[in-house]
């Protein structure tokens, strides 16, 4: 069973595609074994500035790295992209990243999924859609001709001709116990955003015992803590938002409006700001204590050197 690993978060909302590729190469060179890349159509707020098509970027990362595991964090295969299309994207990517790609999936946000004009379903319906979508993706990855007439999706005579030797693992993102339970039932791993033992327990109780449990941690490393807090507020105010706002607002400018109400302290409560190693280690420990075995660290803001330098010097040496 896995112990603790640190991973690197590739933030598609903040970085251009060439930067993402360069950062994946840098992460690998710095000793990170795994990275996760966000799959967005829009950034959360306009200041973040980017939102590239993740599958193209993954192709470039595949050819620029040699051993780094990379996964999507996360793809919502329910509206913007039909699960049959996501299956093809995942299969192609897995052939470019043999044995080092995982497909992270989730129920998505309206911010990214509304663009094709489809009605935005409530959470329970999205969970149901995701379960059906994962079944379709697995069927296609297994090979052969797939026909499916389900409650939400239809697949007609579809077959993936480009497939990896082994299908990539599918990890499912959960924000609560019900989705964690779904992850335990149908996924190969759990992706969490909070150090919640209850979520891990629900995942394990539903069949996830012994499977990977991945988590995301936001940080803003900077020797000047005051500047770090300002950077975090500027580029990642969405960290302080909770509940339905995250899944129901359709446009970055809607998040901009809400973010104008967020205070610096609200973001600093969620994003570890500054270069105090103890605070970083404590937050990582919270995830390990809850049972997460891989913590993907997202450095908010443009200064990624500050993260790599600080973690190599002051954080990683304190982990076993």
């Amino acid at each position: 069973m896995a112990e603790l690993r640190l991973g690197y978060w590739l933030s598609s909302e903040e970085r251009t595609p060439p930067e993402l590729v360069d950062l994946a190469v840098r992460a690998e060179a710095e000793g990170f074994a795994t990275a996760m890349i966000s799959d967005h159509y829009h950034p959360w707020v306009a200041e973040q500035g980017q939102a590239s098509f993740v599958w193209t970027v993954l192709g470039a990362i595949a050819r620029a790295t040699t051993g780094l595991e990379v996964g999507t964090g996360v793809t919502a295969p329910i509206l913007r992209l039909h699960p049959a299309v996501v299956a093809q994207a995942a299969a192609t990517t897995a052939t470019l990243l043999p044995g080092r790609f995982f497909l992270g999936v989730g129920t998505g946000e309206r911010l990214n999924e509304h663009v094709t004009g489809a009605a935005w379903p409530p959470a329970a319906a999205r969970r149901e859609m995701l379960e059906e979508a994962v079944g379709i993706i697995r069927s296609l990855l297994a090979g052969g001709d797939v026909n499916h007439r389900g409650r939400h999706f239809t697949v007609e005579d579809a077959e993936l001709f480009t497939r990896p030797d082994a299908p990539p693992p599918i990890h499912l993102a959960a924000g609560g116990a019900r989705t964690a339970e779904l992850a335990g039932r149908i996924a190969d791993g759990l992706i969490g955003v909070a150090p919640s033992p209850a979520q891990v327990d629900a995942f394990e109780a539903a069949g996830g015992r012994g499977k990977p449990k991945l988590a995301q941690l936001h940080v803003c490393c900077d020797e000047d803590e005051d500047r770090a807090r300002k950077t975090a507020l500027r580029f990642w105010p969405n960290a302080a938002l909770q509940g339905a706002a995250l899944t129901e607002l359709p446009r970055p400018r809607d998040f901009d409006g809400l973010a104008s109400l967020v205070r610096e302290q609200d973001v600093a409560d969620v994003v570890v700001c500054g270069n105090d190693p103890e605070r970083h280690l404590r937050r990582i420990a919270e995830f390990a204590t809850a049972g997460f075995d891989t913590v993907y660290v997202h450095q908010v803001g443009p200064d990624q050197d500050a993260f790599f330098d600080f973690y190599a010097r002051a954080v990683v040496p304190h982990l076993a």
Partner: protein, 127 residues
Amino acid sequence: MAEGLPGEGRRQDEQRIGAIADPDVPILRAGTTVGEAAGALGEDDDVAVVLDEDDIVLGLLRRPALGLDPATPVEDVAQPGPSTFRPSLTIKELRDYFDSGHDERALVTTLTGRWLGLIRRSDLFDG
């Protein structure tokens, strides 16, 4: 039935869970460091129970915590206050709890928190 004493008879709904709680899981004493704890967990063990000198349950250490600073005391990185169950609970009642999907394991303790053993979901549903 006295707390913690094994009962007789085969495993059935009205049997008390104190009779089937498994005490043979990795135990770590408060003050043990993460580095020292690494050897206590076997390859298939995903958790260890952290106890004080009076066998009172302090927390549940999950395997990923073994990747933290080896000098850290285990009680600092164990999940505090895990749900515990009294040995007088029946197997049916615990099975119903597991059915609710909240947990994969149950720690069985006396009312005062003294460690008795662990029951996994699979102990009640397999076979």
